[in-house]
């Protein structure tokens, strides 16, 4: 507790919270402020951009469906201009459709809208510490994309070519509900390294530029010049 308050007193972690639904915004804001974060809120893309221009926050938490655009635009811009900012997407269901598309533009985590206040704060803190959260269904979606099938399965496009076999094994473990400790045991890893692997996986799934996207599409034979 003392460590936390010390940290908070020394340098409160700044968060930009972008959410257009007022009750949800209040709820998240309350949970984060109580945990000692410095929260700035925005309800639209324009507001968020203005806020970003003033100060690059440590963490960006954004909804996807915004009145004047899509949250992915904001994520992409933030990722390019403030590479040090940790980005999380706020999702109702944590479904792969929203989470994966956000990950490919630069998000490294997601937050459920109905999560308990303590969980909300804990997740953000973990993210700042370099530990990205991942759900079993997200892991399942990613590993299924690594299996070569004749027809790409439905869902957002995803390039899993950079993932190593070890990373895929970790994803399998998560998809089957094993804890980090159990996965580390099965794979002969140190328990502490597993969360770092998750963040690496997210980073590898990111498509950085348009040129890279084209290159990867070429590599995978998705398009032909």
């Amino acid at each position: 507790m003392s460590v936390l308050s010390d940290q908070g007193a020394a340098q409160p972690i700044s968060i930009l919270l972008v959410e257009d639904d007022a009750p949800t915004l209040w709820r998240l804001q309350d949970a984060l402020a109580k945990a000692g974060f410095h929260v700035t809120s925005a309800a639209t893309l324009a507001e968020a951009r203005a806020s970003l221009a003033q100060s690059g926050p440590k963490v960006l938490l954004t909804d996807l469906q915004l009145p004047d655009g899509h949250g992915n635009e904001l994520i992409r811009e933030t990722r390019q201009r403030y590479p040090d900012t940790e980005i999380m997407v706020i999702s109702i269901l944590g479904d792969e459709e929203s989470v994966i598309s956000a990950i490919t533009v630069g998000a490294t985590g997601y937050l459920l809208k109905d999560a308990f206040p303590t969980d909300i704060a804990a997740t953000v803190r973990e993210l700042v510490a370099g530990h990205s959260p991942i759900s079993a269904s997200i892991a399942r979606f990613i590993v299924r994309r690594t299996q070569s099938t004749a027809e790409p399965p439905p869902g957002p496009p995803l390039n899993t070519a950079k993932l190593t076999p070890r990373e895929i094994d970790i994803l399998w473990g998560i998809a089957k509900g094993f804890s980090y400790a159990e996965i580390a045991g099965h794979l002969g890893l140190s328990r502490q390294t597993v969360p770092g692997h998750i963040k690496n996986i997210y980073r590898k799934l990111e498509v950085h530029t348009r040129g890279e996207a084209v290159f990867e599409a070429l590599q995978q034979g998705l398009i032909r010049l």
């Binding site: 109702i92 303590t118 079993a136 269904s137 399942r140 979606f141 089957k176 509900g177 094993f178 159990e182």
Partner: protein, 647 residues
């Protein structure tokens, strides 16, 4: 079957008169053709003006002198020594222009040596074509100007005869070369060049038919005809001067060609018209082989005798057999090919008969032999017709292939259309099924929870209750969405998400979740696992956890996942998965029906769990005592296909 027989018989009876009429017409046509042949053959071959004819000779034969008038036949001889010598004279008027004069011999058998004023100017034995009695080769020789005298000149002709056929010398013309040359050329064209052309044609057809046979071994008719033509060509082109003894035996061998050739043609006709090969069919080759054997063992005389006695009749018999085959074919097949072949055979037969009559001097004649020529012409016609037929068959194949391409394309399009329709139908059916399921699942879970939210909000004072209900609704919504995902039969993937949800559910209640999965695999994979199985199992597990939280007051919940390969699996080798949920709560007393006495809500929960387990074919085992409750779900070896219990 009883209907078919009379129909066939009556149609056969109806076809009979038609067939008979055709056969009668065909048979009546043949005498007409014979008469036509005789008329055509009566047209005399080209001859120079009668002005230059020299017909009066004195013949010295066997030491006897007699005066004769050409054309003249002499007896058959078997020696070259002391041949019959014809002595005559011709006059060259001084008024004639000073051009070159020639002696022309339109027809002779078998060889001549012509001398003018005692000097030999022509010996036909050096001309291989002239040595063949079956070719009506004429000869012409220019009289050297130094020999020619104005007025009377001597002309002597030695006629070489080699038996068995008799010698013959046709009327001789002596006169200006330019007057004799045209008719000589005309005869050469007809009787020397034309057979060579036919033979060349036969050679080409032999090659074509041979190739056809090589590519289509199942049609030996082509090969047989190719053999016949090859023999004919050999006979036509391999000829050597008579005096050249090196090949004389080969020369005489060729005599056997005609009977062999006709036997091959007969074989061809039998095969072509689909006859069953007779058991003693090889007999037709015997005459040709006999003649060949005679030439091998005997001298030229014997071989010629053999040919005349065996070969020529064999050729005739073959021709007659061919005519019978063609006639039968006309009767049976009623096609143009049979009629044409029959008519051609009649022509050849007529020529052959006339040749025989002329050889044996049974009719007055000038010994123009045409059987060989007509026979060659017939062979060429057959070969050409076969080639035409083959080309037509190729065209039909092309047409057939094009037709097939069209048909296949049409069928493909139909298939595609029906496939699209079928796919559409299947998709619609799947969608409808999925919708029904989704409706039921949402109704079972989310619907009830939303109703509770409404009820709670109406009470107005139960904020926490609304929160719980809404949370439960969201949890169930996630379950429904999750269950839509294809997990490839691995229930562990569904349990992974369930673990997350349970963890989140237990956290505010401060209940510990102990997760014990035995081995990295956990549960066996069930390819037949469907989303509705998953949803039933997960809801069952949810119910167990909820009971532990709400009614048992548990502090710790343990979930164990294992695969049992115990004694129960004796009948089948497939291992069964087992999921066990244990809590350390106060438990309940199972009633006589396994129902709890602790409250109506819990009782309904237990009933639900049993029903869900039954729908998935799983076994549910409940034990409870003061130390806690244990719910053990043993998965089936194979999940049932249909949701029979769902109603």
């Amino acid at each position: 079957m009883s209907d078919a027989a009379p129909t066939t018989a009556s149609s056969g009876r109806r076809r009979w008169p038609k067939r008979a009429t055709l056969l009668v017409q065909y048979l009546l046509l043949q005498p007409f053709i014979i008469v036509l042949c005789l008329v055509v053959l009566r047209i005399p071959p080209p001859e120079p003006s009668p002005r230059y004819l020299v017909t009066d000779f004195s013949l010295r034969e066997n030491g006897v002198e007699q005066s004769v008038t050409l054309p003249h036949f002499t007896a058959s001889r078997y020696t070259m020594n002391d041949p019959p010598l014809y002595n005559g004279r011709f006059t060259r008027p001084g008024s004639e222009p000073q051009g070159a004069w020639s002696v022309m011999l339109p027809r002779f058998t078998n060889g001549v040596e012509v001398a003018v004023n005692g000097v030999v100017i022509l010996d036909s034995r050096r001309n291989p074509a002239a040595n063949r009695p079956d070719r009506n080769t004429p000869e012409i020789a220019v009289i050297p100007a130094s020999l020619l005298r104005d007025g009377a000149n001597d002309l002597s002709i030695r006629l070489f005869v080699w038996g068995p056929i008799t010698g013959f010398l046709d009327r001789i013309s002596v006169g200006p070369d330019e007057m004799l040359r045209p008719s000589y050329n005309a005869r050469t064209l007809l009787f020397v060049t034309l057979p060579v052309v036919f033979s060349a044609w036969q050679a080409i057809l032999a090659v074509i038919l041979g190739i056809m046979w090589a590519m289509r071994r199942h049609e030996p008719a082509y090969g047989v005809l190719a053999a016949a033509m090859a023999i004919g060509v050999t006979q036509a082109f391999f000829q050597t001067p008579l005096q050249d003894s090196a090949y004389s035996r080969l020369n005489s061998m060729l005599i056997s060609a005609a009977p062999l050739e006709s036997a091959f043609v007969l074989t061809f006709a039998l095969l072509f018209f689909g006859w069953k090969w007779p058991r003693y069919g090889w007999v037709i080759f015997v005459p040709g082989l006999v003649v060949a054997a005679a030439t091998m063992v005997g001298d030229a005389t014997l071989s010629r005798k053999a040919f005349l006695l065996v070969g020529a009749p064999a050729v005739g018999l073959c021709l007659i057999a061919l005519a019978v085959v063609a006639g039968h074919s006309v009767w049976r097949r009623q096609d143009a090919a049979s009629v044409m072949l029959g008519c051609a055979l009649t022509i050849v037969l007529t020529c052959w008969a006339l040749d025989l009559l002329s050889v044996f001097q049974l009719v007055p004649n000038r010994r123009i032999l045409l059987a060989r020529l007509s026979y060659s012409a017939m062979l060429v016609a057959i070969g050409a017709a076969l080639t035409w037929r083959f080309a037509r068959a190729l065209n039909q194949v092309d047409g057939f292939a094009a037709n097939m391409v069209t048909l296949v394309r049409e069928a493909e399009e139909k298939l595609k259309a029906s496939f699209v329709r079928e796919e559409e139908r299947a998709r619609a059916a799947a969608l409808a099924r999925e919708r029904t399921r989704l409706m039921r699942d949402l109704h079972d879970g989310l619907g009830g929870q939303l109703v509770s939210i409404v009820a709670l909000s109406e009470r107005g004072n139960a904020g926490a209750g609304i929160g719980d209900a809404a949370r439960a609704a969201l949890k169930d919504l996630r379950l429904v969405i999750d269950s839509m995902d294809d997990i490839g039969g691995d229930l562990m993937l569904a349990l992974g998400s369930w673990r997350e949800r349970v963890t989140a559910q237990l956290r505010p209640h401060d209940i510990a979740l102990v997760w014990r999965a035995v081995g990295p695999q956990g549960l066996p994979v069930h390819p037949e696992l469907r989303p509705w199985h998953v949803i039933q199992i997960v809801r069952l597990l949810d119910e167990a956890v909820t009971n532990a939280v709400k009614h048992a007051g548990a502090r710790r919940i343990t979930v164990s996942i294992e695969t049992s390969s115990d004694a129960q699996g004796v009948d089948e080798g497939i291992a069964r998965g087992r999921i066990t949920i244990e809590d350390d709560g106060k438990g309940f007393e199972p009633g006589p029906n396994g129902e709890a006495a602790a409250g109506q809500h819990a009782a309904r929960g237990l009933r639900n769990m049993r029903s869900r387990a039954a729908r998935c074919g799983a076994e549910l085992e409940l034990t409870s005592d003061a130390g806690g409750t244990r719910v053990r779900l043993t998965l089936p070896r194979r999940f049932p296909d249909s949701d029979a219990a769902a109603g």
